[in-house]
């Protein structure tokens, strides 16, 4: 079995990975996984179960970086959507006020009518 040269991987990796570097690591990972899927040789499996996690760790760091960066993006979006929701609440208030203006007009008319009823001679 040709064990991939994990010990030749660069030690100081810049995260996030460039798309090319990520693709290279993923390719290496997939080749190791293909070997693991196609063998029942315990020695090979034990060796790959030591080296593959090192490749996985690089990919994992890149993934965790992306998830963390997205948390910041979600927090920024929350503010934007809350702002729009506040505007919609104001709009709902404007719409409700139209019906309430009509109700107020009706109440004024009722009050005038009452005065006319009480004081018919006006």
């Amino acid at each position: 079995m040709a064990t991939p040269p994990v010990n030749t991987l660069p030690t100081n990796l810049l995260i996030p990975l460039t798309p090319e570097l990520r693709a290279a690591y993923k390719d290496l990972y997939d080749k190791m996984q293909a070997q693991l899927d196609n063998t029942m040789d315990l020695a090979v499996i034990e060796a790959l179960n030591v080296s593959q996690p090192q490749v996985d760790e690089v990919l994992r760091k890149d993934d965790l970086y992306k998830l963390n960066a997205n948390t910041a993006a979600f927090n920024a979006l929350q503010k934007q959507i809350d702002f729009t929701n506040q505007g919609l609440k104001t709009l709902q208030g404007q719409i409700s006020s139209i019906a309430s203006h009509f109700t107020m007009a009706a109440e004024i008319m009722a009050a005038i009518t009452k005065i006319l009823t009480i004081v018919p001679g006006i």
């Binding site: 990972y29 996984q33 693991l36 029942m40 315990l42 499996i45 034990e46 790959l48 179960n49 593959q52 996690p53 996985d56 990919l59 994992r60 993934d63 965790l64 992306k66 998830l67 963390n68 997205n70 948390t71 993006a73 979600f74 927090n75 979006l77 929350q78 934007q80 959507i81 809350d82 729009t84 929701n85 505007g87 919609l88 609440k89 709009l91 709902q92 404007q94 719409i95 409700s96 139209i98 019906a99 309430s100 009509f102 109700t103 007009a105 009706a106 109440e107 008319m109 009722a110 005038i112 009518t113 006319l116 009823t117 018919p120 001679g121 006006i122």
Partner: protein, 314 residues
């Protein structure tokens, strides 16, 4: 006035339909996203449990279960779910606003205006007649009293007034909506797009992480099973078989998890497109057939007719 109200209301009915579709598009994204984040964290925790076995087998003194990192903290998950909850509030507000003319409050207010204006007119008329001397003259000529005279404003006229006020109310509501709402929807579109992109990126990352988590679990299970096969391992044959039988189940779970993420990815894409369509409708960028418009206008006219019919005849 009624014609203008009909025209504006027709556009608004389209917006209402799009707002309802948007609400339907958001629901699966909210539900499935919440499940996807929790599933990914659970799977990652399971993998950590397997790694504990490896660490102890290797007698790795640096291993401390208290220092095992979690994939996403509860705070990270909550910041994602809170945005989705805010999006649901947005969608519900759109539905409420776009059905603005279909308002029981407006119906009640216009009926009240019609009734009170009628009472006012009927009470005010005799006073005006008296002041102008019209009733007195008529009464002295005919010898009748004004008490038996028919009301100045009949029930039919009263209902016409109420309907007119209802149309005026609808027009005013529509005018507010037409002036304010499209701008807010269009303004929201890039934020929804950014949200969908962030969600899609998350799902892509979780998919990659889950694939490797499942790989690792299967790889370690395979190693443990083969180690138990070694001479002198003294593994219980029944437990050994049970371990082997776990493998297909883990593979099935991996497939199901992957399918769920693919479905969620589709739901996110659909959400972005649905909001784009809503924004296009808000800007009247969608070509509509005249027939559709006329059908809508007829619907609105029918609505006013129904309001008129609901008013009492006496």
């Amino acid at each position: 006035m009624i014609a203008m109200s009909l025209c504006v209301t027709g556009c608004q009915q389209h917006l209402a339909k799009h707002a309802a579709v948007l609400s339907e598009a958001i629901a699966p994204v909210v539900d499935q996203s919440a499940a996807a984040y929790r599933d990914a964290v659970d799977l990652d925790n399971l993998r950590s449990d397997y790694e504990a076995v490896v660490a102890y087998q290797k007698k790795d003194s640096s291993y401390n279960p208290r220092n095992v990192p979690v994939l996403l903290s509860e705070g990270d998950i909550q910041s994602r779910l809170a945005v989705l909850a805010a999006l649901q509030v947005y969608s519900e507000s759109l539905i409420e606003i776009t059905k603005g003319t279909d308002s029981p409050e407006l119906d009640a207010a216009s009926t009240s205006v019609g009734n009170n204006l009628t009472s006012l007119g009927n009470n005010l008329a005799p006073s005006i007649e008296k002041v102008l001397g019209i009733a007195a003259a008529a009464g002295s000529a005919s010898g009748t009293t004004s008490a038996s005279a028919a009301p100045v404003i009949s029930p039919q006229v009263r209902n016409g007034i109420s309907t007119g006020f209802n149309a005026l109310g609808q027009f005013l509501v529509n005018r507010v909506i037409e002036k304010e709402l499209p701008g807010k929807i269009v303004e929201m579109d890039p934020h929804v797009e950014a949200l969908c992109k962030a969600l899609s990126d998350d799902i892509e990352t979780l998919d990659a992480l889950e694939e490797r988590d499942y790989d690792r679990i299967l790889n370690l299970e395979k190693q443990f099973i083969l180690e138990d096969d070694q001479p002198g391992s003294n593994a219980n044959p029944q437990d050994h078989r049970a371990e082997m039988m776990k493998l297909p189940e883990i593979a099935r779970q991996q497939r199901e998890a992957n399918e769920k993420l693919i479905a969620l990815h589709e739901a996110i894409k659909n959400l972005a497109m649905t909001h784009h369509a809503l924004a296009a409708e808000a800007q009247h960028n969608n070509p509509e057939s005249l027939k559709d418009k006329l059908t809508e206008l007829a619907g609105v006219g029918k609505g006013l007719g129904q309001f008129y019919s609901s008013l009492p005849a006496n």
